[in-house]
Symmetry: C2
Subunit: 351 residues, 2 copies
């Protein structure tokens, strides 16, 4: 029997299942560095350490030990199903009859890295930049489509000493599709103490990336707060409707509010770069989403839009007006229809 065992990113994050499977093994096979991280658990077992890049030899050895009747543990770091040993083993055993094989899942680099960076994930893609057996054109296409669809993008195997071209292409495509201010979380596990850093794409330096780095590229709703990389997923902030907002939306629904910039208003311009006053009060207030510049005034527990002028941009107003009439039929809908409002907001941000 062959157990392909994911030991996770480090000793602390191994699962109980994986521990149990290691305990029951007769023979343990793996890349030297991974074996050493769990070696104290392997007393009395036959241990076979192999070099990096020797995956096929490791797999064939596991098969031959299994035919000797041994219970074999084949160790993979992270999750063996994610760019690990699982696919290779299933392809290799296709050659033989009657090999029992089990995969033990582990915490993969995407989950571990995300946990250290904060909460960067939402819908995401995981892409390996290794072009050893994958055409570079395929990798480029995946990066491009993932960026265009606004996925969070998680990069495995970003670079090696001899393989830098895919990383450069990755950076170039992101610059073209997403722009230089795209947020990138960097998690470097090459040293004993793992290092994290958050940069914008224009500051992403090839010399800081190595084989043990995982990158997490934010989407349009990602932001940084207290050194954490966070992607807004939207949630409904409890609130009441301010009397002035109530008055404004009564007038709005009667078609009695200004369009474009209202220079006659005594508060004009109440925002920097004010283009449109159509939504003098934001219909999504409070959105609780810092990605467009809003933030909590902590002392008062009040949501501040001072640094967000998104609702006053021409393109925003146009996008919202198209759909708002179906969602906001009376002022109370600002509260009762908040989920639909937040979806409309999201749709207009991503447009």
């Amino acid at each position: 029997m062959i157990n392909v065992i994911g030991i996770g990113p480090n000793r602390e994050n191994i699962t109980l299942s994986a521990l149990e499977a290691l305990k029951n093994a007769d023979v343990v096979i793996g890349y030297k560095k991974y074996i050493e991280s769990v070696e104290d658990l392997l007393e009395g077992k036959k241990i076979i350490k192999k070099g990096m890049g020797d995956e096929i030899a490791r797999g064939e050895l596991a098969i031959s030990k299994s035919f000797e009747g041994k219970n074999v543990a084949l160790i993979s770091s992270g999750d063996p199903g994610v760019f690990g040993m699982a696919n290779l083993m299933f392809q290799l055993i296709g050659k033989y009859d009657d090999i029992e094989i089990n995969v033990y899942p582990g915490v993969s680099a995407v989950n571990y890295s995300a946990s250290l960076l904060g909460a960067p994930l939402h819908d995401f893609c995981a892409i390996s930049l290794s072009d050893i057996l994958t055409p570079i054109g395929e990798i480029e296409k995946k990066i491009e489509y993932a960026a265009k669809a606004n996925f969070i993008i998680v990069i495995y195997n970003p670079i090696s000493k001899t393989r830098k071209e895919p990383f450069r292409k990755f950076k170039k495509i992101l610059l073209e599709v997403k722009g230089s201010d795209t947020l990138i979380g960097i998690v470097d596990s090459s040293q004993k103490s793992v290092k994290t850093k958050i940069v914008t794409l224009d500051k992403l330096d090839e010399d800081e990336i190595n084989m043990s780095t995982t990158l997490i590229v934010g989407n349009s709703l990602s932001y940084v707060e207290n050194d954490y990389l966070i992607t807004s997923r939207g949630y409904v902030v409890k609130s009441s409707i301010h009397p002035l907002a109530n008055e404004f939306y009564n007038n709005y629904l009667n078609g009695e509010t200004a369009t474009g910039s209202n220079k006659d208003c005594e508060y004009y311009p109440c925002h920097n770069d004010l283009q449109c006053c159509d939504f003098c009060f934001c219909p999504f207030y409070p959105c609780g989403d810092s990605s467009t510049g809003g933030k909590w005034i902590k002392s008062k527990k009040v949501w501040s839009c001072e640094d967000c002028s998104w609702i006053h941009e021409k393109s925003t107003v146009k996008c919202i007006k198209n759909s708002l009439k179906d969602i906001l039929k009376e002022v109370d809908d600002l509260k009762s229809n908040k989920k639909e409002l937040l979806k409309l907001r999201r749709a207009c941000i991503l447009k």
Copy 2:
């Protein structure tokens, strides 16, 4: 302090870190079903079980208990970073000063489901079909782009009793972009014993899908063998060059082999639907990839191409001839340049 703890897909797949964090907690908060799965570990702790969909209340409660000086464990199933409690918590604590928060990653549904199905993953996208706070247009675009870029697609939250439309759209888009023979792995965790099934897209039945189902959609290199869903990642099968292949490629490199269908050959047609004999012997032999129909003859340990006619299709020949001259300059390159050959093969399959 608030610890957002991923307990994985089930009790056996919890990590040591998560266990330790649970042990150190004063108060444990979570959705009823998740708490119950680890309740025996929680003796002596204050346990607060909440209903489904009550995420904000759970998060606010964790914050208030933390302000009381408690060490709070907030439980998430799977990985809290993947459609779990992490994003929400980071958004919620933006309102307050000085809350210490840690995320404990877990084995997510993608890793667990993949391990039960075999080895279906390569570059993949994870998409939630919940349109409660995400516009359906955004979800549709992500499915479309993920399908067009040939990602493995992992679907979270595919359906609920009142939310079936996103699933129907998902199926429709896949049919249009990928075709009815696309392989889909289904992992249903709604019962105590988890059920898996592999179907083609045209057999994907809405009535077999529920809130606790994870779907894994294969790519162009996925295949089924012994009830496992496997995605070829390519590897180099050890082999020697057959004397007849040696002779053929000597002639090929001298421009002395046939193009198109060679009806004068005594073996014609040696394959069903034979269009082109340009590569009488496949330059990629043995590819070890069952996704185009090849397989091992187990008794002889020989790779059989009997059921693969891909190399004899017009479009294949055209794609390969474009690039082969740069990779195959002498017959020995069939062995020494095998990685580049397998990349060319992959590029032409995905074209």
